[in-house]
Symmetry: C2
Subunit: 387 residues, 2 copies
């Protein structure tokens, strides 16, 4: 087990009827707030109204920024920064899923930075100062509600990049599973795949002796496999939505990655290149790519970890690690298929036109991946396998 | 899943050679520090010297309080409070295991309270203000390094009581597994039992739909079952010590209790009555009492949870929950025995002399337990079974 520092200080307020508790926490930081959201599902669900009512009752000042899209755009980030500066706002409250939260993190750091916020993503500047932010989560998927990471797309350059800093971790996050009842089948399935992918990225590493982390990772995967199908059939099943929601936060708050040198993250970086061009739902892209990444990196050295996963999560028996590993990858692909997720890029109308440039862009900062290092040709090969 | 609030904000600094990083964090809070420790193992291991050297290098002022015993005494707490007040100290740094940390928490709150610190434990006052505190952990057991709970013994009244508050959560905890290499077999085994007991107290509740929490709980138990025996045979096995150390923190930082009304905690309260009189090692007391508590509360209604545990942790198969439950309790007792822990009170020279008064004292605030409510007669009965 490697040395590590771990502090996941986000205050989680979980459950029904918690808006007033959320606002009480927000007001500990500032009474001048930017509320950010997306296309209006938070209007339909009544969440925005409840938040505004609570803020009005406490005499707080707020501005709104709506229209933040999935794969959030740098243009929205710049708009949010402008509103914060013009109105001297001191807290950003994101209502939505990972896209709204990620864009809000970029705003929070961008307000205190004089240059272009894209600099953070190009690694030209560190987002090491930020306004405090919080969220009311409406989609169980990205884990952004309990970590300091942010992924944003540059609409001009067709790039989708990630950055992060501990100061971007939300101070408080409200997780009310009832606000995910209206999430449709496609997004629910993609969210489940996203949660599982975050576990995979931290599970598949060569570090020895991380038994407790890997055990926790497996238990989160089992939760996804149990409840993912339930919410597709029974979208208002509170227990299922609640388990998936808490799974989303625990899968990417740093817990399962403790004691490891780093995560792998190659598949995420490849998927970002695909969805930067095609605006594909992130989880759907991961459902396509992950099994092919697994096939590509499977060898005598890596089989042990796939075999562990297969035995502990899918109950696959056997004595040959490589055989169990292959059966495990099949089981993962079958599970994603059972959620009606696509299993090839052609199924979502993506041709091989940009595969070469996607491979190059994925490796723009050098080879990617930690479980197995991948150069741009290998990335292109994985994309071809996934065609 | 019940509504919950969760914030485990302790900064964990895990691994080898981290003393300077610990001291850097401490000095963010205050440069006037009380160092607390026990009988001197931190002198032998060199930890105390390293801490003092780091403090001296940074020009910090410190005082020391040594001699804090297992089942820490109120008298030590009062001494610590006096030193803090006389020297205007602003941070308490505990070097040791749960006893030193728990006593230090009582000091931290006591410094800012005008009355007797025992009031906190008698529920006459809430320990809701405290000096910041931190620790360098030397024993994997109580989980005190990442939570706001404290257990102290009153030397005058032979009472051992618990209290807690979020403000008592250490700001920073250094977990260096190498400092547990010298922990002897008895204490190592008792520590493993203690960690498992914390999981049991939160696992055995009647709350439905807490699948993710229970899965994480099971993975922590499996870690204990795997590595507990290893450290008895091979005390300097870093991976085993590291997994147990991280298990101790995760078992009682609130994580596995989220979404539940509360934990059970009856067995801990019974054990506190035994060790208040007999000064028994806490984990050894739990190893004796837990299997009897399990036998006592097992019935048609509670069998499902024992059966889940048996299937998922001990791989016990079958179709009848009650049968699996019985086999599970046997497996737990066998595991504790394999660690050379006692399995009856007579084995540690405790007679039935005080059983009745122990039962009454355990229920002094009313019936105990949540999985099954126990009155004082039931507690006495469990003690008789454990004789």
């Amino acid at each position: 087990m490697k040395n590590f520092t771990y502090q996941a200080g986000t205050k989680i307020i979980f459950g029904k009827n918690q808006v007033n508790n959320l606002i009480d926490e927000v007001l500990c930081f500032s009474d001048r707030i930017l509320i950010t959201y997306g296309k209006g599902s938070v209007i339909k669900s009544g969440l925005l109204d409840k938040v505004k009512t609570a803020l009005n009752e406490k005499g707080a000042f707020y501005k709104e920024l709506s229209g933040i899209l999935p794969n959030p755009r740098l243009s929205s980030v710049k708009e949010g920064i402008k509103i914060c500066r013009e109105n001297d706002l001191g807290f950003i409250l994101a209502l939505g899923g990972g896209s709204v939260i990620d864009a809000s993190k970029a705003m929070a750091a961008g307000v205190l930075y004089e240059g272009d916020p894209w600099d953070f993503y190009l690694r030209k500047a560190a987002p090491d100062k930020a306004l405090p932010l919080g969220c009311a989560l409406t989609l169980a998927a990205t884990g952004s509600e309990m970590n300091g990471s942010t992924v944003v797309s540059n609409d001009e350059t067709q790039e989708k990049l990630a950055t992060g800093n501990d100061c971007l971790r939300p101070k408080v996050s409200m997780l009310d599973p009832t606000y995910t009842f209206t999430v449709n089948k496609w997004q629910s399935a993609a969210g489940t795949v996203d949660i599982m992918s975050h576990i995979f990225e931290q599970y598949f590493t060569p570090d020895p002796g991380t038994d407790i982390q890997d055990g926790i990772a497996e238990s989160i995967l089992k939760t996804c496999i149990k409840y993912g199908p339930v919410v597709l059939q029974d979208p208002e099943n509170y227990e299922a939505r609640a388990n998936l929601m808490w799974a989303s936060s625990l899968a990417l708050n740093g817990l399962t990655g403790t004691g490891k040198m780093m995560g792998d993250w190659a598949t995420h970086m490849i998927e970002h290149e695909v969805s930067a061009i095609y605006d594909l739902t992130h989880g759907a892209g991961l459902a396509i790519l992950f099994p092919y990444w697994m096939q590509f990196v499977l060898n005598d050295k890596t089989a042990f970890k796939f075999a562990r996963l297969g035995k502990n999560v899918f109950g696959i028996e056997g004595s040959d690690d490589l055989e169990i590993a292959k059966a495990t990858i099949d089981a993962i692909r079958s599970f994603f298929n059972s959620l009606d997720m696509p299993s090839s890029l052609s199924q979502v109308d993506i041709s091989d036109e940009h595969f070469k440039v996607m491979g190059e862009k994925a490796c723009k900062f050098g080879p990617i991946g930690y479980f197995k290092r991948l150069n741009h040709e290998m990335v292109t090969q994985i994309l071809k396998m996934a065609k």
